[in-house]
């Protein structure tokens, strides 16, 4: 593929309600937050693709690239 | 055609059930209550024979709930009950009106209030049929006066319900539900059977709540592949999404109301049986109609001009037609098996033009020919 490698975790900020679940549940502290609590991917490389953030996001606003088989 | 008409000796309740099946009802859910239970029993026996379903539910709420479910899934559906059970159905009747899922509720009235007297006739639920529910919404209420009418009015009730996507209530009472009578049934093919309109647009374009004033929208049913929305609480826009915007709510409420007000001519069923030329008009419905006719016949024999105004559609009440019919009346008599219910509407209709007098009985027995006759004589004196 010729595309730029997608980061392992993506947040659709438009959908986010700033509940903090992804931030608090991520075992690898991949997320940080801005002033008003919007999560941002700050340590993308730490991500182990455990899917916890995606599975628990109540707004279906996070997508994690699936681990290889 | 007359040759195909069949004669039966049927119970009023059986005629009702048979009429429902003729009208295409293929689902019945209910909960037993005297004096309506024979309707359920007939349905339990006959529906599986015509590919339909009967289920006895755990209570009346569940009964009408299942009926609404089946109707939402595209099957004509009905339930039947009596006073106490009818009270338990009120929330769902209101719901049915607002989500515009057709359903027919038969109430075979018995002595009330409270537990009431299960095996005697009464007309205690006439106002409840119109006003028993929370909030404003349209409803059609019919009243059957004979066993054959139980058959034909049930068909009418189903037709109205499907056409206007509205709950239709068919009232009768113990004295008719439990009456057996010679009933001549015309072939179903000769009768008008109405089926709800289906969407004429594909799912992407279809807006489930969109309709002109006076109209019910076409109905996408569960399982039709429309991913149908909008069967929910009051406030929805035409796409069916929730959201409490005043003008949307207003439009919905007024459009639903207009299904009745714009179609009075279609919905009103009444009969002027000599009322137009009468000095004394007897307004009657249900089990009082035949009594009133006999009493008026007797009065005319005695030289009193008396006539009956029979109403079959109780709600919407035929104010204007009644007002016209009492043209020359000195008095209007309203016999009722209650403490005075429909008489209030008669007073409204008459606007003070003639005195309106009630003849009320609540002891569990029917009003007699003599009682009406005496009241006519009395009114005629004034």
């Amino acid at each position: 593929m010729n595309r730029v490698a997608t980061p392992k975790v993506q947040i659709l900020t438009k959908l986010c309600k700033r509940c903090g679940i992804c931030v608090e549940l991520c075992p690898k502290e991949v997320f940080g937050t801005d002033d008003i609590g919007t999560p941002e991917v700050v340590r993308p490389d730490e991500c182990t693709q455990c899917l916890s953030c995606e599975l628990h996001c109540p707004e279906y606003a996070i997508e994690v690239v699936r681990p290889e088989e | 055609m007359a040759s195909k008409t069949k004669r039966f000796f049927m119970l009023g309740n059986e005629a009702c059930a048979a009429g429902a099946i003729a009208a295409g009802v293929r689902f019945f859910a209910g909960y037993p209550i005297t004096p309506s239970t024979e309707i359920a029993e007939y349905m339990a026996r006959e529906l599986p024979r015509v590919g339909g379903q009967f289920i006895q539910m755990e209570d009346e709420l569940a009964g009408i709930g299942a009926v609404i479910g089946a109707s939402a899934a595209g099957v004509k559906a009905m339930t039947a009950t009596s006073g106490p059970g009818f009270s338990l159905m009120q929330e769902f009747i209101s719901y049915s009106a607002v989500v515009e899922i057709p359903c027919v509720v038969v109430n075979i009235m018995r002595g009330g209030p409270g537990g009431g007297a299960a095996t005697v006739p009464a007309q205690g639920d006439v106002m409840q049929a119109r006003w028993g529910t929370q909030g404003d919404h349209p409803v059609i209420v019919l009243s059957a006066a004979t066993v054959p009418e139980m058959y034909y009015l049930t068909i009418k009730a189903v037709n109205f319900s499907e056409k206007y996507r509205i709950p239709v209530i068919l009232l009768s009472d113990e004295s008719i539900g439990h009456l057996r009578e010679t009933t001549e049934i015309r072939p179903t093919e000769s009768m008008e059977i109405v089926n709800r309109r289906k969407p004429d647009l594909p799912p992407e374009q279809f807006e489930p709540l969109k309709a002109d004033m006076g109209q019910a929208p076409p109905m996408a049913c569960i399982g039709d592949g429309y991913r149908v929305k909008g069967y929910c609480r009051l406030t929805r826009n035409e796409r069916g999404d929730p959201g409490a915007v005043p003008d949307v709510q207003d439009r919905l409420m007024r459009r639903q109301e207009s299904k009745i007000t714009a179609n009075l001519a279609d919905i009103h069923m009444f009969e002027d049986m000599g009322a137009g030329e009468a000095d004394v008009v007897v307004l009657a419905h249900g089990s009082n109609v035949r009594t009133a006719l006999c009493a008026c016949a007797r009065a005319r024999e005695k030289g009193i001009r008396a006539g009956v105004f029979k109403i079959t559609t109780l709600w919407p009440f035929p104010y204007a037609p009644l007002n016209r019919a009492i043209g020359r009346a000195k008095g209007v008599l309203v016999p009722e098996l209650n403490l005075g219910q429909i008489i209030g509407e008669v007073e409204r209709a008459c606007k003070g033009r003639a005195p309106v007098v009630g003849l009320n009985k609540v002891d569990g027995t029917l009003i007699t020919i003599n009682e009406i006759f005496d009241a006519i004589v009395e009114l005629n004196k004034s």
């Binding site: - | 004669r7 039966f8 004979t146 004295s175 010679t182």
Partner: protein
């Protein structure tokens, strides 16, 4: 033409069925018009029971009976309650086993017949007393034939009971035949 027939007694005596057969025979096989209304007490069994039938050659204008043309009473209680509400020219029939009647009080025709004993003794079946009575009533009535009634009985009664019911019906007709003379 209009006949008002009242069958009265106790729940369990089969009077509702008898009335229904009569009305159905009139409707379907005699092309007449009929209505039938039962009333009963709150008991499921053993309380008072009444079955009113009207038969006419046009639609019945008023389906409830005030005074009867024919009154059958199969219990003392029913007799006490209804015997006074027979037309002067009407017919009063009582079941001899249950009713101690005062025939003099009734100006019209009076019959005290042994429906229940006959059912028990001749047909070995208490339960068909109602059909014997039905035969008698129909015989006196004259507008619904034995054959019409029989057709309905064949439809409404489990097949193993058809024979005894036929016998009962004929017995009932015969009672009147005898008595009529």
């Amino acid at each position: 033409m209009k006949h008002e027939i009242r069958l009265s007694g106790l729940g369990g005596q089969g009077l509702v069925l008898a009335g229904r057969i009569l009305g159905e025979a009139a409707t379907i096989h005699e092309n007449l018009y009929a209505v039938q209304k039962q009333s009963y007490g709150p008991e499921a069994r053993g309380g008072a029971s009444r079955s009113d039938v009207i038969i006419a050659d046009a639609e019945v204008d008023f389906p409830y009976i005030d005074e009867a043309d024919i009154l059958l009473t199969m219990s003392q209680e029913a007799y006490a309650k209804y015997a006074g509400r027979v037309r002067p020219e009407g017919i009063l029939i009582v079941d001899d086993l249950f009713v101690r009647a005062e025939p003099k009080k009734h100006p019209g025709r009076f019959f005290s017949l042994d429906f229940t004993r006959l059912a028990r003794n001749r047909l070995n079946n208490d339960i068909v007393a109602n059909i014997i009575a039905l035969g008698a009533v129909a015989g006196l009535l004259g507008v619904v034939s034995r054959d019409s009634l029989l057709k309905v009985i064949e439809k409404r009664v489990p097949s193993r009971f058809i024979d005894v019911n036929t016998e009962a019906l004929d017995l009932g007709f015969s009672l009147i035949g005898e008595d009529k003379g």
